[in-house]
C-alpha cells in the first residue's frame, strides 16, 4: 500500500501552536526581553545584559523572600499532607456521611482566595475577630499586623484551613479505589491497623499523594493573594514571599528589568524543584520496573 507523503498535517497543529504561543511563549519572551534591558519610560529601552540577574542574585531581599517562601512551603506540606491523609482515613466509606463529608471538605476550596484572606484577617483581629478576641480573653494579645510570629501563624493556619481539603479529597479518592478484598485479606493475615495503613493504604495512595505534594508545593511557592490581604507582606518583610516581593518590585516600584529577571529566576526555581520532587518520588517505582 502506498502512503501519501506530505506535510499538510502540520496545519492541524497550528491552532494549538498559536494558542500556546500567545498564552505562554510570547509573554515569556516579553519577560526575557525586559530582563536584559533597562527603561525609564517612554518606551525607551537600553541594553543591560545580565546586570539585573546579578543584582537580584546578590540581593539580600531576594534570598530573604526565597528562604521565607521555602520555609512556608515546607511547613504547610508537613502539616497538610499528614493531616489530609489522617482525615481521609477517618472519613466514612459509605452511607449518608459520604456526600456530607465531601461537600464540607470542598467548601474552603470554593471560596475566592481574596475572600479567604479577608476572612482570616477579620477572624484574627483582637478587637472584633472571634479567634483574636478569644485569645485576648485568655491573656494572649494576638496581633498579626505587629508580631512576625503571629503573622506567620495566621498565614500558615489560613493555608492549612484553605488547602488541606484538597489533600483530603485526593487521598480519599485513592482510598476508595482499594478493593474490599485487600482489607479482608489483611484481616485473615492478622495485620494490625498500622500494617494495613503501611502496606495497603499508603502504597495505594502513593500516586495521588505525589500529585497532592506537587500541587501544594507549587501553589504554596506562588502564594500571593491570601498573605497580601492578611498581612500585606509584613510586619516589615516577615511574610514577604517571592510573589509579593515581585509585585512590589514590578508594580510598586516599576522596576521592570529587575522584576523580569526575578520572574525568570523564580520560574526556573519552581521548575527545578518540581522536577526534583517528581524524580525523587517516582524513583522507587522505576527501581521496581527495572528488577522485573
Amino acid at each position: 500500500m502506498d502512503k501519501t507523503w506530505n506535510n499538510k498535517a502540520w496545519f492541524m497543529v497550528l491552532p494549538a501552536f498559536l494558542v500556546v504561543a500567545f498564552s505562554a511563549v510570547i509573554p515569556l519572551m516579553t519577560v526575557v526581553n525586559y530582563s536584559v534591558q533597562d527603561t525609564f519610560g517612554n518606551n525607551e529601552f537600553f541594553w543591560a545584559g545580565t546586570d539585573w540577574f546579578t543584582e537580584i542574585l546578590s540581593s539580600e531581599r531576594f534570598w530573604g523572600a526565597l528562604w521565607r517562601n521555602l520555609l512556608f512551603s515546607i511547613i504547610i506540606l508537613l502539616i497538610e499532607i499528614p493531616l489530609g491523609v489522617f482525615i481521609a482515613l477517618n472519613m466514612p466509606r459509605r452511607g449518608i456521611g459520604v456526600p456530607l463529608c465531601l461537600v464540607t471538605m470542598a467548601m474552603p476550596l470554593l471560596i475566592p482566595w481574596n475572600v479567604v484572606g479577608t476572612i482570616w484577617q477579620l477572624i484574627t483581629r483582637s478587637d472584633i475577630g472571634l479567634f483574636g478576641y478569644a485569645l485576648g480573653k485568655i491573656g494572649i494579645q494576638f496581633n498579626a499586623a505587629g508580631d512576625p510570629l503571629h503573622a506567620w501563624i495566621t498565614v500558615v493556619v489560613m493555608d492549612v484551613w484553605h488547602w488541606t481539603s484538597l489533600v483530603v479529597l485526593l487521598a480519599y479518592a485513592g482510598l476508595v479505589s482499594i478493593p474490599d478484598a485487600y482489607y479482608q485479606a489483611a484481616r485473615i493475615d492478622g495485620a494490625s491497623r498500622w500494617s494495613v495503613f503501611r502496606y495497603i493504604q499508603l502504597p495505594k495512595m502513593k500516586r495521588v499523594l505525589l500529585i497532592a505534594v506537587l500541587l501544594r508545593f507549587m501553589d504554596s511557592f506562588m502564594i500571593y493573594t491570601e498573605p497580601f490581604v492578611v498581612t500585606g507582606g509584613g510586619p516589615g518583610t516577615s511574610t514577604t514571599f517571592l510573589s509579593i516581593d515581585l509585585v512590589k518590585m514590578a508594580v510598586g516600584q516599576f522596576d521592570l528589568g529587575p522584576a523580569a529577571a526575578m520572574s525568570i529566576i523564580y520560574f526556573l526555581i519552581i521548575l527545578l524543584l518540581s522536577w526534583v520532587f517528581y524524580t525523587v518520588m517516582t524513583s522507587s517505582d522505576a527501581e521496581n520496573e527495572g528488577s522485573r
Binding site: 478493593p179 479482608q184 485473615i188 492478622g190 495485620a191 502496606y199 521496581n288
Partner: protein
C-alpha cells in the same frame, strides 16, 4: 483443625428480610468433618461466597450459630477463628518482596524467625517461587500474584481451616492442574479442613471428597462425586453435574407407574409424591439405552464428541439426550430402555423415595 458446625445459618445483606428471596443464604444446617476436603459448587450468585465469608468471619450471619469443634465462634473475629482464606483475585502487598508477603501472616502472629523461614521456604518451593523470593511483588504477572495469595493462605500450618474462593480463576489452564493436584496432596499431608468454592464441576469433582452443591441460597446436596452423579437429590444437581445434564420431564404418577404422553414407565415402587404441585421424572443420559425393543422415540440429531456420541431425540414429545458409545450403531427404528437404577422421581424438584 476443626469440625465445622453450621447451625441454622441464614443471611440477608439488606435489613429486615421478609420473604425467603431477601436472603442470600437460606437456612444452612450442616456439620463438616475435621480434615475433610469440601468443594462448594453452584452457579454464580447462589450464596457460595457468602457462606465462605460466614465461616471465615468476614460476614456475620443474620441468624444462626457457627461452631468449631463444638465451640461457638459466631462472634469471634477472623483472627480469633484462626482461618486462612484465599480470594478469587490476587491480593498481594505490593511494596513487600515475595518472601515477605508469605512471611507476613506468620510474623503478625509473632512466630519465631527460624520457623517462619523454614515454613516460607517450604511454600516457596511448593509453588515454584523460590527464584523470585527476593523480588518485589508489584511487578509480577497476575498468575504469579495469585500464587502468592495462595501461598499466604497455605503458609500457616496450625489453622482451623483453609478456605478457597475460586482461587484459580486467573491462572492459566495448565497451571490449574498442577496447583490443584498440589493442593490435594497438601491436604493429604496436613489433614487440614479445606473448603473450595468453585462454579466449575470438573474442579469440584477432582478436588473434593465431598461436594456441597448450592442453589439459590440453599445447600441442595452434600455427597461424594459418585453419589451426586448416580442419585441427585434435587433436579438442579441433575442439571448441573454431568455433561449433558440429566433428562427431566413432567410425568403423572399412578401407584408404581409413571406416565408421560401415552408411555408408561414401571418404577418398581410407589413414590411418596404427597401433595406436590410438580412431579418430574429424571434420568441421566448415561442410563438410557437405545435398542430395538422398548419404548419408541424419534432421533433429531447425533453429535459426535470424541469417544462418545450424544443422541438428541424426542421421547413422548419431550426432548431428551442419550449418551452412546462411539462405535454403537444407531437403529433405524429406534426404541429406548430405561435402566432401573437411573430412574428418579422428583416432587417439587426434590427426589422422593418409596411410599413409607
Amino acid at each position: 483443625m476443626a469440625r465445622i458446625t453450621l447451625e441454622h445459618i441464614r443471611h440477608a445483606y439488606g435489613p429486615n428480610p421478609q420473604s425467603p428471596y431477601d436472603y442470600a443464604l437460606r437456612e444452612v444446617n450442616h456439620e463438616w468433618n475435621d480434615g475433610g476436603a469440601y468443594a462448594l459448587l453452584g452457579p454464580s450468585g447462589c450464596g457460595k461466597t457468602t457462606l465462605l465469608n460466614i465461616i471465615s468471619g468476614l460476614v456475620k450471619p443474620s441468624e444462626g450459630r457457627i461452631l468449631f469443634n463444638g465451640q461457638d465462634v459466631t462472634d469471634f473475629s477472623t483472627e480469633e477463628r484462626n482461618i486462612a482464606q484465599v480470594f478469587q483475585f490476587p491480593v498481594v502487598y505490593d511494596t513487600m518482596t515475595v518472601y515477605d508477603n508469605l512471611a507476613f501472616p506468620l510474623r503478625n502472629r509473632g512466630i519465631a524467625y527460624e520457623q517462619v523461614d523454614r515454613r516460607v521456604n517450604e511454600i516457596l518451593g511448593m509453588l515454584d517461587l523460590t527464584s523470585r523470593a527476593q523480588k518485589k511483588a508489584r511487578g509480577l504477572t497476575a498468575d504469579l500474584k495469585q500464587k502468592i495469595s495462595l501461598g499466604r493462605g497455605l503458609v500457616r500450618s496450625d489453622v482451623n481451616a483453609i478456605l478457597f474462593d475460586e482461587p484459580l480463576t486467573v491462572i492459566d489452564p495448565q497451571m490449574k492442574w498442577v496447583l490443584r493436584s498440589q493442593l490435594k496432596s497438601l491436604h493429604r499431608q496436613s489433614a487440614v479442613t479445606m473448603v473450595y468454592v468453585t462454579h466449575d464441576q470438573t474442579e469440584a469433582l477432582t478436588f473434593a471428597d465431598k461436594v456441597v452443591v448450592m442453589y439459590q441460597g440453599e445447600i441442595v446436596q452434600i455427597d461424594s462425586p459418585a453419589e451426586l452423579f448416580e442419585n441427585p437429590k434435587h433436579t438442579f444437581v441433575g442439571y448441573f453435574i454431568g455433561s449433558p445434564g440429566m433428562n427431566v420431564f413432567p410425568v403423572t404418577v399412578d401407584g408404581s407407574k409413571a406416565r408421560v404422553g401415552g408411555m408408561e414407565i414401571e418404577l418398581g415402587y410407589a413414590p411418596a409424591i404427597g401433595q406436590a404441585k410438580k412431579v418430574e421424572l429424571g434420568i441421566r443420559p448415561e442410563f438410557m439405552q437405545l435398542s430395538r425393543t422398548g419404548m419408541p422415540l424419534s432421533i433429531r440429531k447425533v453429535e459426535d464428541i470424541g469417544r462418545l456420541k450424544i443422541v438428541r431425540a424426542d421421547f413422548a414429545g419431550q426432548p431428551v439426550s442419550i449418551v452412546v458409545k462411539e462405535e454403537a450403531e444407531i437403529p433405524s427404528e429406534p426404541y429406548v430402555q430405561f435402566r432401573d437404577q437411573g430412574v428418579h422421581i422428583y416432587a417439587d424438584s426434590w427426589r422422593v423415595g418409596r411410599e413409607a
